[in-house]
Subunit: 117 residues, 4 copies
Amino acid sequence: MPDLTIEQLQQQLREFAAARDWDQFHSPKNLSMALIAEAAELVEHFQWLTEEQSRSLPETKRTEVEYELADIFVYLLRLADKLDVDLLKAAENKLKLNAEKYPADKVRGSAKKYTEY
Amino acid sequence: MPDLTIEQLQQQLREFAAARDWDQFHSPKNLSMALIAEAAELVEHFQWLTEEQSRSLPETKRTEVEYELADIFVYLLRLADKLDVDLLKAAENKLKLNAEKYPADKVRGSAKKYTEY
Amino acid sequence: MPDLTIEQLQQQLREFAAARDWDQFHSPKNLSMALIAEAAELVEHFQWLTEEQSRSLPETKRTEVEYELADIFVYLLRLADKLDVDLLKAAENKLKLNAEKYPADKVRGSAKKYTEY
Amino acid sequence: MPDLTIEQLQQQLREFAAARDWDQFHSPKNLSMALIAEAAELVEHFQWLTEEQSRSLPETKRTEVEYELADIFVYLLRLADKLDVDLLKAAENKLKLNAEKYPADKVRGSAKKYTEY
């Protein structure tokens, strides 16, 4: 069975909130708070791991992390819906901007974006 | 022109990082930090607004917020790719779990999930 | 009994980590992740509340929030210790900078810092 | 000159907000958002650094990080003041709880709190 599309997921979220009378809580302000709280749960999984450990998670931990990514995605979908943002198009535009901002032949090796820090 | 798919965006991100030799920086640990930093830029847009104001952003601000959503999405796509997570499927599963956890006929009105806080 | 001072708290934290052999985990990078995860637990308490509700918390919730503030403070103290920062002096300097940046007679009413958003 | 105390800093913050008519913006909800946004600026400094690099920052970067710690502390002080929390006492209580929760002779070496992740 093919995955649901972003639009279908957003439609489900809309119906889910409506059926529970939760739209009153879903202001973009509140949703941004919920999203960052989920992002922090992801961070918590990695905070005491080395980078190397984070690259090869044991399966149970990988599954927990998958749930966190899903939680973040759900709030991101909801926010995008509320603010009338096409996530795929917005990301595509962002990648174009990044390509101009960080030309490969200039940044390779130096990785200025990173080493600047 | 139709939107790129999630897979196509992830493929572009892979090539983008490879061309710049940035994979060394893109451990899941580091990407989780980058993601929460972007989520915080979203929060910053809303922190002094009322909920009502956040529901009806002026156009210039809505555009800035759109960029923040794109930034979050890009890091989420990258993390999902690195951790081999199918975001659409993970979100779909999450919605099913939520439907069981918060049955509409029980939570409507009471909004226990929220008022508990 | 008077409160412990910031230095005394930091000394206790040093001994606490040393006795458990935890210094290896307490890089500034990792501590910044732990701090933001605690900050997010604070955010979670407020995410579905109105601003008004957040101003008058029921006592049990106020106590939970107190624990979150303590958690944030503990990681902030630890980071400051690791990075050799005098928190009180740093805050004092910051307040001076803010006084220059936002002169009271200019910003009153307009609240430009806020309405700009 | 001795450092200002926490109470003196909080008193200055109170006067600072009052002189600018900013109390209306400083609900605990909003302040929690401002605090996490500052915590994220700290995270941003560390996100592409190795743990080792984060332990030995170049001086200019250490100074920038010092400002971020100050920003976090200022919002923490403000929140504690608004919610009538004694930060030093709350941290002291937290350290006592941690000592019971993680007895040194049991956790040393195993570092269960960390490796659990």
